[in-house]
Symmetry: C2
Amino acid sequence: MANQEVKPVAPERRPRRRLRTPNPVVRARILAASMDLIRTRGFSTLRIDELAAQAEISVGTFYLYFDGKDELFTSLVVEHTRLLRERLEQAMAGAPNEEERAERRLDAYLDFVEENEHAFLHFLRAGSMQTTVGDLSTWALGQHAEDVRPLVDESIRSGAIRAVDAELLVQAVLASTQHLAGYWLQHKDRYTRAQIKEFIRELSLAVLVGLRPR
Amino acid sequence: MANQEVKPVAPERRPRRRLRTPNPVVRARILAASMDLIRTRGFSTLRIDELAAQAEISVGTFYLYFDGKDELFTSLVVEHTRLLRERLEQAMAGAPNEEERAERRLDAYLDFVEENEHAFLHFLRAGSMQTTVGDLSTWALGQHAEDVRPLVDESIRSGAIRAVDAELLVQAVLASTQHLAGYWLQHKDRYTRAQIKEFIRELSLAVLVGLRPR
């Protein structure tokens, strides 16, 4: 899907004028400046006047290119998703086998995540309320992790599964279960509850089987 | 952690007066009314005046109990996390074995997700930009899913893994990988990049092993 097709549905209200022939260099400069600012201190406190100063343009010029922060953020995600896919593709090119392809892909992904730490976390946790106990969605998953953790510890202790990192395993299982539940709600035309349930069960069992002591 | 300790860190600014002896019945009525409204049409368009009408209180009374929508939402998540944990615990009680416990737990979780569909999706996707191609984080994951999907299809076709639902498998693997990457960034004091990478690799391999044809 081309870049310009992905736009926020409720752009900030503002009398809007757009250039007939936007300058791609200016647009790229705005995106680059915003990444610089996000990298040092995150997106939520980013101000348009600061961004304009960093990009060496006027605030008015910024609004000729973007409706506001929502559209800027959407453009950044679209642009970086495209770049990331290219990088992953390139990273895998020339790998001698499937295992090595997977290895290189994962490395390139972690490179990207690390380079874009602030933007990635904003993307992942955006809108999750910042509370006195930290990010609200992280807190809620952590509550459930407390309940599930003893089961995983016991599975490791009893030798049913290998001694992997119990906390990471709990986080991975809960996150994928939560995501699949959300995916189901967003695709009820394609999946019944029974199908989602069966899949989660099969995947959980597969993980247990795959983690049996070697 | 007790309910009242979890608060948004940047509550909406508003001259604030709190009751010395808040009425728990009124508080519960506000929470119940907000759940009713969220259930029928979601959280983002919920208005305080509507909520007050539904709860049969004045707008002024609402603000004696909550700073605004952020604090209301935080309270709803805290309350429902507590209720969900209790439900999961109860669901598992009396199950004859570990497999049945897992089965009942999953069923109770899906019950909860289904009953609270709008609130759950808001919680999961809150703040993710709503765009012309739908929720931005769903779109971005979908882009990567397009790239990974052929690999999974091929693994199924070649008989390396069983004929599970390829789309759900891709979604689960990408979501847990993304979550673990975010977890690492939030816990760099506890995990090195090498540890996270090794764990993602081991988990991915375990899934493949566990999904081998029976």
